[in-house]
């Protein structure tokens, strides 16, 4: 018996690291973006994409909420916003 032992190329895509995110996620304001791509380069998950100015965004299935993109953005055009768990949001509603 071997178990999940060997990783073939591309298998890390199955690992949805978005589940690691706690408390906050990046919000791309899309106002002052100069398309410098610093956010794309610094993202440890490589989950930020975009081409033209003000088109950049991240894939929340993989975003771990580390905040590196908001920290590096020279135009402060990304901010970390509080993210509530589904349970907390539901409690608030009630």
């Amino acid at each position: 018996m071997f178990g999940p032992l060997i990783a073939k190329p591309g298998s890390s895509r199955k690992n949805k690291t978005g589940s690691w995110r706690i408390e906050s996620r990046p919000k791309f304001l899309k106002k002052n973006c100069i398309a410098c791509r610093m956010c794309v380069v610094i993202c440890p998950e490589g989950c930020i994409s975009g081409k033209e100015k003000n088109t950049f965004d991240c894939d929340l299935a993989f975003c771990k909420g580390c905040g590196n993109c908001a920290y590096i953005c020279p135009k402060q055009d990304i901010e970390m916003v509080r993210e509530e768990s589904e349970a907390a949001a539901k409690n608030k509603k009630e």
Partner: protein
């Protein structure tokens, strides 16, 4: 062919016959002669193998991890502190499910420094996922190297094997050995065909990050495989006997246990001394016997239960300690009988031969005398109480 050989040289000869493509090791007493002789074979062109000289045991283990991951049969040997320095890599080799054979020349652990024999080094790594054999004499040692390579590379196993031979007693002892000829070795041990290997044409990762969603299953799989290994070892031993004519059970060996009233359980070279005592006492009509444990990992609890369930008095010899708790082998023998209806009246635990303290026939007779009394736990044999008077007070 029967030859008169030193243990280390005999191991080097059998490893040569197994044709490992890569050998890497760092010298440490009492393992040194093994790898020294292998280095000679490579230098003389008698063995077509890469002998990788390294600066430490951590590197030696890392080299063979890498070479076996690349699909090449590999070999290393070490002892004591060297095995501990390898330990991080030892767990990795098992975790990556890489087949490898390592000879451990059993030696005590510092401090204080001791180059002499006990089992503390390999016993301390019993939970690493490696299969462990403890051998009694040189013939068994070399035969189990052959069995170990077959077992390790079995596509249902793919786990590393540690052949544990007592330092000095076996590594430097000289015996007449029936050295298997290389033709027979080739028929028993075909070239290694890896199930998976590092290959640029077909890339894969071994030992990558496994988060809590994945890790537990990899450990469960090793544990289940160890249970399968308990079935596979006796089959391989049978196949071995068909080729080489020497018979092993592979898990345990019973010596005059069937009608015995007192049985000693032991591992390694001390079993030879115990057999001498059993023969002497049997000649006088005393019903004594020996149960030798050969495979310590996986632990053959079922076979041990069957062998000992009708024995009134059992004495377990440990040549290592779990300081502050029960001696390792004794604890597991007792666990094998927990909750069972049939069991010995007494399972006493004795600690012998730590740090190379000589285990004489008198030591064994003392154990057999003490097992007649009430149950003993961690009873040290041949202890010198006069050395315990030292105190340091201000």
């Amino acid at each position: 062919m029967r030859e008169f050989l030193e243990g280390s040289l005999a191991v080097a000869r059998i490893v040569k016959a197994c044709k490992p493509g890569v050998i890497s090791a760092y010298p440490i007493t009492p393992q040194t002669h093994v790898v020294e002789e292998l280095a000679n074979f490579v230098a003389n062109g008698e063995l077509n193998s890469q002998f990788v000289n390294v600066e430490s045991e951590h590197s030696a283990a890392s080299v063979v991890l890498g070479s076996v991951a690349a699909g090449v049969r590999s070999y290393t040997a070490t002892s004591s502190q060297g095995l501990f320095y390898m330990s991080e890599v030892i767990f990795n080799i098992a975790g990556m499910r890489l087949p490898l054979v390592l000879t451990c020349a059993n030696r005590a652990i510092s401090a204080p420094i001791s180059i002499w024999n006990d089992h503390q080094d390999s016993i301390s790594l019993r939970d690493s996922g490696w299969i462990q054999f403890y051998t009694e004499n040189l013939q068994e040692t070399i035969d189990f190297h052959l069995i170990s390579y077959r077992l390790s590379e079995d596509k249902h196993v793919m786990l590393p094997v540690m052949v544990c031979m007592d330092g000095y007693t076996l590594t430097h002892g000289i015996e007449t050995i029936d050295m298997p000829d290389e033709g027979k070795v080739d028929s028993f041990l075909p070239p290694y065909k890896p199930l998976y290997k590092l290959d640029v044409e077909n890339p894969l990762s071994l030992g990558p990050l496994a988060d809590p969603d994945y890790y537990m299953e990899t450990r469960y799989a090793i544990h289940q495989t160890h249970k399968d290994v308990l079935e596979i070892i006796p089959k391989l031993a049978l196949e071995f006997s068909k080729v080489f004519g020497r018979h092993y059970n592979g898990l345990i060996e019973e010596y005059h246990t069937k009608d015995a009233e007192r049985v000693i359980v032991a591992m390694g070279s001390v079993c030879g001394t115990v057999k001498e005592v059993v023969d002497e006492l049997r000649a006088k009509g005393k019903k004594v016997g020996l149960l030798k444990i050969v495979a310590y990992r996986p632990f053959p609890a079922e076979a041990i239960y069957e062998a000992l369930k009708n024995i009134p008095k059992v004495a377990v010899l440990d040549r290592s300690l779990s300081l502050g708790s029960y001696a390792p082998v004794a604890a597991e023998i007792k666990a094998a009988f927990f909750g069972k209806k049939k069991k010995p009246q007494v399972i006493s635990s004795f600690v012998v031969g730590i740090g190379g303290r000589d285990i004489t026939k008198d030591s064994i007779k003392e154990v057999l005398r003490l097992v007649n009394g009430r149950e003993k736990s961690n009873e040290f044999i041949d202890l010198k109480p006069e050395l315990l008077k030292e105190e340091y007070e201000q």
